[in-house]
């Protein structure tokens, strides 16, 4: 029995860190620009597709491919921010509609370029760790540890780097930040780029495990959405705690019942949270 519970916890934590990777960018974008980015899942998909093309089709080293995918997607994100989202800063509804348009356009682009089929790629890491009955595939473990490292780096960046601090300042009060000499525009573009890069890394890391297809971003986007609403829109600690909670809750439901039941549970949780406490666990007052 305890074995069973341990397995649930291990699975939950391993998917939780990937949710956090997605949710951090999602919540960063909301915090700084007040935009709910429905295209976030498509940035994950773009990252995974780039890894497919670079690593599986062109034989570039997997780790290099993930890094390249992150950089390219980050550039794409910064461009999207500059030209498509900048006019909508603080007009939440129109920004959200814009993000939907971008999401659909990116999906369509991927469909046209890659086709609708799921495409597999060779796994760079294989085998599983058997820890007295507790089974953890090495690739999941690797993804989990790498994600953890990136989350730590991201945290240090926000806390100790001047630009990271500027991002937090904008999230608190953009006008005051701008008066203090923060260049709101370029910092926003950079933040969006980082958020896009994080999503692309998540996509690139999961690509060998789940394969690649144009619609692959929808589910991770839903998960990030659940995590961020639970933790509080715009809150970084909220995204981390929320990601772990959702990972664990889902892992439990998926083991005891099925994955649809797990999704129903997490969305019901979202409905409840928004109804009772819209700012989530750690968000600012609405």
């Amino acid at each position: 029995m305890s074995q069973y519970v341990l397995q649930i916890i291990a699975n939950g934590l391993l998917s939780g860190v990937v949710y956090i990777l997605m949710a951090l960018g999602f919540t960063l974008i909301f915090g700084i620009m007040r935009i709910v980015n429905f295209a976030h899942g498509e940035l994950y998909m773009v990252g995974a597709s780039l890894v497919l093309v670079l690593y599986a089709h062109n034989g570039i080293n997997y780790f290099l491919a993930v890094a390249l995918a992150a950089v390219i997607t980050a550039g794409l994100g910064a461009l999207i921010e500059r030209f498509l989202f900048r006019p909508f800063v603080k007009t939440e509804l129109n920004g959200m509609i814009m993000s939907l348009g971008i999401s659909i356009a990116l999906q369509a682009g991927a469909l046209i370029i890659l086709g609708p089929a799921w495409q597999a790629m060779p796994r760079p890491v294989s085998g599983a760790l058997d820890f007295g009955g507790l089974v953890i595939p090495y690739d999941r473990l690797f993804v989990g540890l790498l994600a953890l490292a990136i989350i730590t780096l991201f945290h240090l960046y926000l806390k100790h780097n001047r630009t990271g601090l500027a991002m937090q300042a904008i999230a608190q009060d953009a006008e005051t930040a701008s008066l203090m000499g923060v260049r709101v525009g370029s910092v926003s573009a950079l933040a969006f780029g980082i958020a896009a890069g994080l999503a692309a890394v998540a996509g690139g890391l999961m690509a060998p495990i789940y394969s690649v297809a144009p619609y692959m971003g929808e589910l991770p986007m839903l998960k990030a959405f659940v995590v961020v609403v639970l933790g509080g829109l715009g809150s970084i600690p909220g995204a981390v705690i929320g990601g772990l909670v959702i990972g664990l809750v889902e892992s439990g439901f998926a083991t005891v019942m099925n994955s649809t039941a797990a999704l129903i549970a997490s969305f019901t949780l979202v409905v409840m949270v928004v109804l009772v406490r819209p700012r989530g666990l750690f968000g600012k007052a609405v």
């Binding site: 348009g101 659909i104 356009a105 369509a108 979202v270 409905v271 928004v274």
Partner: protein, 321 residues
């Protein structure tokens, strides 16, 4: 003037499928009507300042409710569509006071999550809904002794419902009620202070929009004869009716009508190229929200786009229609 002209053109266009009598054309025309009703139901909510992604929930309630009542209890579809539509409206009125307290972006997230829950339940509650394989052999609509298995015969019914939904929205737009709605959208606190019962207006509007969506769903169930959760997803319904509203324009009740007429036939035209349809939807959303925020009807009707005479300038300043 331009509105009257647009209405006349629409009336002529709506007669075309009847005159031509082509089955395929009639099918597209019925879908224009159904999606048009859905778009109007979203438009009503936008008029009270809330973007609701839950209209698909009421459509699904209407569709599954009507289909199940006619299959399980053998009731005629005419009755079940009406009952399921009214039930959907009531559901909206019951949920309204809870959901509509939440504003702005949080309301969008709330209704988005709710729609996800409902769709997942449709997938998971296999004994009731048939799960992902869906419900088959749903009885066809029968009216005045005519069995409406074909879109040609169903089209007049769908068109009448669409016209009715439009008329209701149009009348609301032109009467004190409409002004109350706009005032809620523009300045909630002020309209509260002026004595508008904001909450009641929101809840009743939600109820009306739920009724419309429920009826559209019921009609859809008996038109297609087959229901599955695929037809009630975020992308299939919510995104489409949002694109219709944005492209058509949200201010005028003609907006969703024009939008539906232009956009719903698109998937049929690009039948073998789903990806290009998606691309067109995405690009339209981006271009319209960036450059033509008032949509086609806004561009057509809004006096600020025509050379301003002194009188129209004055009207604009005084905000007189």
């Amino acid at each position: 003037m331009r509105q009257t002209a647009t209405l006349l053109v629409l009336a002529v266009v709506s007669a075309v499928p009847i005159l031509v009598g082509d089955r395929y054309l009639a099918h597209i025309a019925v879908m224009v009507c159904l999606m048009g009703i859905m778009a109007l139901s979203m438009n009503l909510m936008l008029k009270v300042g809330q973007l609701s992604l839950a209209q698909v929930v009421f459509m699904a309630t209407g569709a599954y409710g009507s289909a199940l009542m006619s299959m399980e209890w053998g009731l005629p579809p005419v009755v079940t569509i009406a009952v399921a539509g009214i039930a959907s409206g009531l559901l909206a009125i019951v949920l309204g006071p809870f959901l509509l307290r939440i504003r702005g972006v949080y309301f969008v997230l709330l209704t988005f999550a709710l729609a996800q829950v409902v769709n997942l339940i449709l997938q998971d509650w296999v004994s009731l809904t048939g799960g992902n394989s869906g419900l088959f052999n749903i009885p066809r609509l029968e009216l005045f002794g005519i069995r409406m298995a074909r879109p040609e015969t169903l089209y007049p019914v769908a068109l009448s419902l669409f016209a009715l939904a439009f008329a209701v929205t149009f009348i609301l737009d032109r009467t004190r009620g409409g002004w109350a709605m706009y005032s809620i959208e523009e300045n909630e606190d002020l309209s509260r202070a002026l004595g508008v019962d904001v909450t009641a207006w929101r809840v009743w509007t939600f109820g009306l929009s739920g009724l419309m969506a429920g009826m559209a769903g019921g009609l859809y169930a008996h038109l297609i004869g087959f229901l599955s959760p695929d037809a009630f997803t975020f992308h299939a319904i919510s995104v489409s009716i949002l694109v219709i509203n944005v492209v058509g324009g949200v201010r005028s009740p003609l907006g969703p009508v024009v939008g539906a007429l232009l956009l719903v036939p698109l998937p049929e035209v690009l039948r073998d190229a789903h990806q290009y349809q998606l691309l067109v939807y995405g690009l339209l959303l981006i271009v319209f929200i960036a450059f033509f925020r008032s949509g086609i009807t806004g561009f057509l009707f809004d006096s600020s786009h025509v050379p301003a005479t002194r009188l129209s300038r004055l009207r604009q300043l005084m905000r007189i229609k």
